[in-house]
Amino acid sequence: MSDSLGAADARAGLGQSRPLASPSLVHRTATAVRVVLGIFIFFLILEFVTSLELVPPIYLPRASTVVRRMFELLQDPKFLNHVLATLHAWAVGLALATLISVPIGILIGTSELAYKMSSPLIEFMRPIPSVALIPLGILLWGQGFSMKIILVAYATTWPILFNTVYGVHDVDPIAVQTARCFGLRQAAILRRISLPSAAPFIFTGIRISASIGLIVVIAAELLASADSGIGSFILFVSSSGGQMDSVLAGAAIAGILGAMINSALGLIDRRFFAWRYLGATQS
């Protein structure tokens, strides 16, 4: 039970795909072609299904209509302001969560006592769904920016915290003992050994949190009818005459945004922490 914190995380972190050794150019081009073709085929299937008009197009517009609406929206300064508002709240909330949970994670990860003392509390707080706090957040902080960032910070704290604890816990004990033999102080060991070796784990936590955070911001905007953001845009267009093409276009843009953020962070991960994957392929 006491080790469920770290173990749970090790198992939860699996979903991320691991890039293996870089394949040949031909192979990579083939993959790229397949990826582009895959998106195109997906669109064609959607277009075909929606053009059958099993439900009236006012309720479920054609895929091509939605795509056209997406391009219109992306040129609309009002919509872009909504996107910026969402990204702003997302970034501040995520930064807040990182600033809070990395130090706490290091503390819990290095001290056995702190680990034991805090794990029941964390195990109890973690399952509280962030969205369940939306009504409370509205009463405490209104429907604006601060409510959003607090909810995002709450939701994104957990993956960062668990990954930090796990990463610091996972440091090679021989490296730490060697450093101690050379007379390094606790602070120096932390800075020069524990943190660098935990960094990829912390980054994975931030990456998982980044995706969660974006979904939570948009959910909060939608469910709390916030004044700005993609979520409030979707709420507005769905309640004013049910413009389903705009609803779906907004949702699709949010999806593309999320996928872009995830792959950008994935690229950074591979760029800076490539050594971790080298180790992973050997074992």
Binding site: L14, S17, I128, A254, L257, G258
Partner: protein, 281 residues
């Protein structure tokens, strides 16, 4: 020293050790609850009612029924049970769709290249953003909520199943082929068991996602459920009721996760011991 004295001494030190570990494990939580109780009573803030009041209210809300129904009140049958059924229904649907589809995609390298970016895109679409569409297509009954939960929680299962079936040890596959195992036997006996740990990891992440999505789905156009109660409490300004709902959700999430871990240990126990043996050799 007589033997009795020794036994007593040992028992005493044993009890002391147990007490110490209890304090370490739960001391912080108990201290925080006491601090909250004290601060809430002093400040008298309506936003943060003292825990004792929340507990009392929770007992009135859910445990005030007749003994013939194990003291469960109508609130349990009107809100807690429907919520629970929606979570389990949506999650079961996600498993039923995600695992077979994931095996299908994962077994073919080119197919997974084709669908990968589409899946990444679909996964990143916030579930709540699709609520307006779901309401129009499926109405406001439980069908809509279960579908929303399934749609939102299928991705970790699907992606982990793809990953798990893709990364089966080639040596095991070759061995199976050398023994001329038929295709379906290879699938059942080699691929699926090897992918199980990853599939289970995905299922567990999905379970907590399903709880979140259950709340989301009940915050919109709803007439029952824990999420509905919390939102209703917000509108009526019943802060204690709202806290009851939040804490009930924490308990629910914790219990579901705990049950799933027990289930996983039972099903995957063989895997961990098998892995341990190969690691030792």
């Amino acid at each position: 020293m007589s033997t009795e004295e020794l036994t007593v001494q040992r028992a005493a030190s044993h009890a002391l050790g147990a007490l110490q570990s209890f304090v370490v494990r739960y001391g912080l939580g108990i201290a925080l609850v006491i601090a909250w109780e004290y601060a809430a009573r002093r400040a008298g803030s309506i936003f943060f009612p003292p825990p004792s009041e929340i507990l009392h209210r929770a007992a009135v809300l859910w445990l005030s029924g007749p003994p013939s129904r194990l003291f469960l009140s109508d609130g349990v049958f009107q809100d807690v049970l429907p919520s629970l059924l929606r979570v389990l229904g949506g999650w079961a649907l996600a498993v039923a769709v995600g695992v077979p589809l994931g095996v299908l995609i994962g077994r073919s390298r080119s197919l997974s290249d084709f669908v990968n970016s589409t899946l990444q895109f679909l996964r990143a679409i916030p579930g709540p953003a699709l609520i307006p569409v779901f309401i129009i297509l499926l109405g406001t009954e439980s069908t809509m909520r279960v579908t929303l939960i399934a749609f939102g929680s299928v991705w970790p299962i699907l992606l982990n199943t793809i990953e798990g079936t893709r990364t089966v040890d080639p040596l095991q596959l070759d061995t199976a082929q050398a023994f001329r195992l038929p295709r379906y036997a290879r699938l059942w006996r080699v691929v699926l068991p090897a992918a199980m740990p990853k599939i289970f990891a995905g299922m567990r992440v999905s379970l907590s996602l399903a709880v979140i999505l259950m709340v989301v789905s009940e915050l919109v156009a709803s007439t029952s459920g824990i999420g509905y109660r919390i939102q209703n409490a917000q509108i009526m300004f019943l802060l204690t009721d709202m806290w009851c709902g939040i804490i009930l959700l924490a308990l629910l999430g914790y219990t579901l996760n705990w049950l799933f871990l027990k289930f996983e240990d039972r099903v995957l126990g063989w895997h961990r011991s098998a892995r341990g043996r190969t690691a030792a050799s």
